[in-house]
Symmetry: D2
């Protein structure tokens, strides 16, 4: 193992990420060291890059897959109870603390800091995915990736899909054969599409743009797409969905676009007694014109979601592993070495990439 490792460091809002070199840390009892394979650029990374409130310096990267470089005195089994060895590919996180109120409720422990959100100015420094090594604090949550699953495919389990699965579960699930409309054709929207299909949706309609994203949606199983370049205003899109559903509206609508006006539009698309899921967090654009009477008049159930729990990563990975008919790995459209991390962010922000990843050791 090398003595030093490179990482892309956020040094302040509006500045390019800098490649810096750090000593490879020694392990505290229970900590482990991961050699990074791939880290995806998340919308929140791009958001953080431009905001003064983001603490610096920091190594981003929280949608990660890597191999175990040093198990130290860390866990000998993963979350499934399966044995772990150095060299195993893993998905990972900080474990929920078990003692806070959010843990008691089974939703969104915020106690242990997560990789990708920890300042890098003090040892062990390397705590984000955009680096060659990643130091995982003691009591990490670990999930071994099956040997016959590609790294790209496994990565999709921690990009979009897991959060969407959490949201769909919290929403009360999908009923077999449901017509599902997805607002947005980015990684979250596609994550919603994949999860809805796996959970038994009968028909999935993806609303978005540009054409290459809609084509990918079709490859992932979308039954229909609605191009917002053609259907430019909310009214035309609502009318289109009403037509496509015989005037009944959609059983389920999932908002993954983050557009300020999307919620009112989505509520109009939901059928009587239907469900609405809002995925976030997104930029807070403040209050929007939304008609609250949709809720009682259409007996709508609405739910918001912003993250996931370990069970959702387990389920997402197992299900994507089995979803052999869809070329899920194609969602990783762009791969960059660490040195091109700023170009990677550009491909993300210009929407040329669906999922852009950094391969820190490539």
């Amino acid at each position: 193992m090398a003595d030093t490792a490179k990482a892309a460091v956020f040094v302040g809002a509006g500045k390019p990420l800098e490649i810096q070199e750090f000593p490879v840390p020694t392990l505290a009892p229970g900590a482990i060291l991961v050699s990074m394979e791939m880290a995806a650029i998340c919308g929140s990374d791009a958001h953080a890059l431009h905001h003064d409130s983001t603490p610096a310096p920091m190594i981003f990267g929280h949608e990660n897959i890597g191999t175990i470089a040093d198990l130290g005195s860390g866990p000998r089994t993963d979350c499934m109870g399966d044995p772990l060895r150095e060299g195993d590919r893993i998905l990972f996180r900080a474990s929920p603390c078990g003692r806070c109120l959010n843990c008691a409720r089974g939703n969104f422990c915020m106690v242990p800091p997560q990789p990708g959100f920890i300042k890098s100015d003090e040892p062990p420094h390397l705590q984000g995915g955009f680096g060659q090594y990643l130091y995982l604090n003691p009591n990490p949550w670990l999930l071994k990736v099956p040997d016959d699953m590609s790294t790209e495919r496994a990565l999709v389990s921690v990009v979009g899909t897991h959060t969407l699965l959490n949201g769909l579960e919290r929403m009360g699930g999908i009923s077999l054969g449901d017509t599902v409309v997805i607002q947005g054709s980015g990684p979250m929207g596609i994550g919603g599409l994949i999860m809805a299909k796996l959970l038994g949706a009968g028909r999935c309609i993806v609303i978005g743009a540009p054409a290459n994203r809609l084509d990918l949606a079709t490859e992932m199983g979308a039954d229909d797409t609605v191009d917002i370049g053609y259907y430019k205003d909310a009214e035309s899109r609502v009318t289109k969905i009403q037509e496509m559903t015989g005037g009944k509206g959609a059983d389920v609508v999932i908002e993954c676009s983050g557009a300020p006006a999307a919620t009112e539009e989505g509520l109009e698309m939901v059928r009587f007694d239907g469900k609405y899921l809002i995925v976030g967090p997104w930029t807070d654009y403040g209050p929007q014109p939304i008609n609250p009477s949709w809720f009682p008049r259409k007996a709508i159930k609405a739910t918001g979601v912003l993250a996931s729990e370990p069970r959702h990563i387990i389920r997402a990975m197992r299900a994507i592993h089995n979803m052999v008919e869809a070329p899920v790995e194609k969602l990783v459209t762009h791969q960059f070495p660490l040195a091109e991390v700023n170009e990677a962010f550009e491909s993300h922000e210009k929407l040329t990439a669906m999922i852009a990843v950094i391969r820190p050791n490539a």
Copy 2:
């Protein structure tokens, strides 16, 4: 039995209800005749009274309790399978049709017309609660009232409480010990209070006015009340609820006020991972300023409800029957003979009454 019966008839928007006399109808196979004991004035009756779109002539009254005057060839058992005899007090409805999509989903069959919403210009004429007799179409849904339950108390099972129970069930229920905030201190708000207490809420806070309604809320079990005459703006009420909950927000907020701005206010009061229930239908005031990011940022579940199913009436009546410690019958604050039906509506509209009822045979 008399040959004729009087009823209060809606004859057009803005006109007083007229007392008219109708022949007591003969029964079609399966139909039954009810002698009315009490019919409550619902907010939707008051609303219908002033709207041009309400069909005329019509006998209002859909929150009803009566005795069986003539069983004809109708059912010999109620919905519980218990025997029915003439003279039995009953709660009643048209049964769900069983063959529509809403029936398949178990939510809000709109096929058979309900008592109180049927035009009175053709036989059997008498199909609303504000009349001495009420003709129930074949295949009625019937629930016998226990002998030891007062008529007022039983009536509360079909005023507010049943709809709130449906809403709370659809919302995913209350967790034992939850802090519940109720926006609104009218019959729906008190219905929410009663149901929340019965379902295990730990602390219930009712926001409303005037003082006599808040006092009734306290008698029904409210742990605290917030007077909107004192806390006049949304910000002060949100601050008050935050104070009362140690800065955590409410586990559950129930909107029963119908105020256009109530939804945004209520969403601000809900804690992280909390629930919001919107009860309706209310006048559609169109889009309001609502921040959709509350949903993902606080992982909120929101649900709307506008009516109930038979199971909710059964459960509400059984539970209120057992709720001996609360003087539920006091919610019926005003009783009027049929001749004073217009005065009854006035007591409802001026909020002097909590629940105002007509006793058509008094």
Copy 3:
């Protein structure tokens, strides 16, 4: 339309079904007449054929598909609200009554008699699927079959799958990626397999025999099969399932075999915190040796199911319609004209058929 129609009539336990001729009935208001396409032989039909307690005479057949021969004054739309015309293919039932306690609970209305369970000695006589025409009483529940769906495929929606869907819903659903073990490889077992796959199971293991049934299971999507001809005793099967699940047990086990000892065996296969579904009704073999401590020690949830609701048929049909990758129609292995109804029962009872159907008008 002909004046008379033939049907297979049960005339007493142990006697062959007799082909009899009946006048085609005239329609009461709201009733409709169906020209039968296919009626499957259900295990309960075979059971009824041999029991003295079965009322005679009776025309069996309750898993039916037909075309509308005469709509009379019956419904102009199906349960989805879609228009109906004579000649349309439909799935059908008597609608739930809407007024009984089981209706209030949304589970198993027993009030209106169902086609296939009505004595045939009085007009309209023709009320079972094993006849050329079937008279549907007023207020029927109707579901139009899509034009591009084969009759065989649609029939599967009312054989096994709908009941299994009900059971899986009542059980609390399947979690994405679950390992599901199915005890039994007959129509119910295969129905469980199809539903589990559609609902997101990751891996399905079917235990049964003979080989042709297990091969069909594989064609329908089973990931593994366990042949009870090879694994002859319960202990060996439990060991096998433990091996196949890395010693963890199955997330979900579904009992569709009807064997008296299957429940204890199945409970042993379920993992900690897993689920067990028992499908029936089956012959009541009386008490069996079952260890009740499995329930608390493994925190098992167990559920029984014996039928379905309209929503399950809707969802099953829509989902099977979309399940293009599985040759579901192949489950209908044997088709017989009405004259060969006794041979059809024989193919069912000897297990040579998976699903044996009568084509009364072939």
Copy 4:
């Protein structure tokens, strides 16, 4: 603080507990020291006392309440986020680990050893409730007891009630107004009674003995009791429950007796579409005669439960705090100083006590 502390030590099956003295341990980082107020004797303690497989030496006591003697570097807030100071009364546990499969499923983490189940031969020795001090390992789960709640009342939150709440939640909850039958009148049965009442049960019937336990059940809110000293056989009890429910059976039956034959008896008492909860763990008496056809024929949902999660303790304590009308504290019928620990076990085993507690510092 004293340098040494006494504790009752299990030294081998069949031997009396011995009072031994241990040094008061120094705290590891994150650990805290509790001064014990009360520890209840659980049925599992009595069971362990007589079994060779119980590891010795060990300090029993896992249903505990104490005050914080030394917070060390442990948490400054409890699980609700409320501030903690030395001297505060607390309920406590080891927190779930957050990284195992049971944690992912939110059910029964077995990774960190719990107080009362840890061998006492090595430092810090004092890790059970039957001692003057209790050393809590790092990352403890802590819940502050409100100042206005008696110690006895708070203790009931961790005796029976929390496990029953978990069970009732897992079972799918109670519907408002349900008739609930409880098999068993010990601490678990009474816990079930309290929780069922709080969750909205309409009528609760407790089956058990002796008379003093049934009287306590009545004081806690039981509407009826059935004395097994009078109704000596299962058949007479089933008949009695059928009579008491108008021939319908109970909506919910909860098995808390631990008797081998109770499950079959309980399943006979459940109504069609009802629920059955089995509380444990109990001695494994092996397979019993149970009719599996009850499950499909009555569409029963059955669930087992053996423990609880932190959320159940939070909810149980908050709800019991509010349950002012029931004298819950009376359930603690017997209190003993540490020196009389063996007499305390005797009062438990002879059923003279409902809940017997040790006051180690009395």
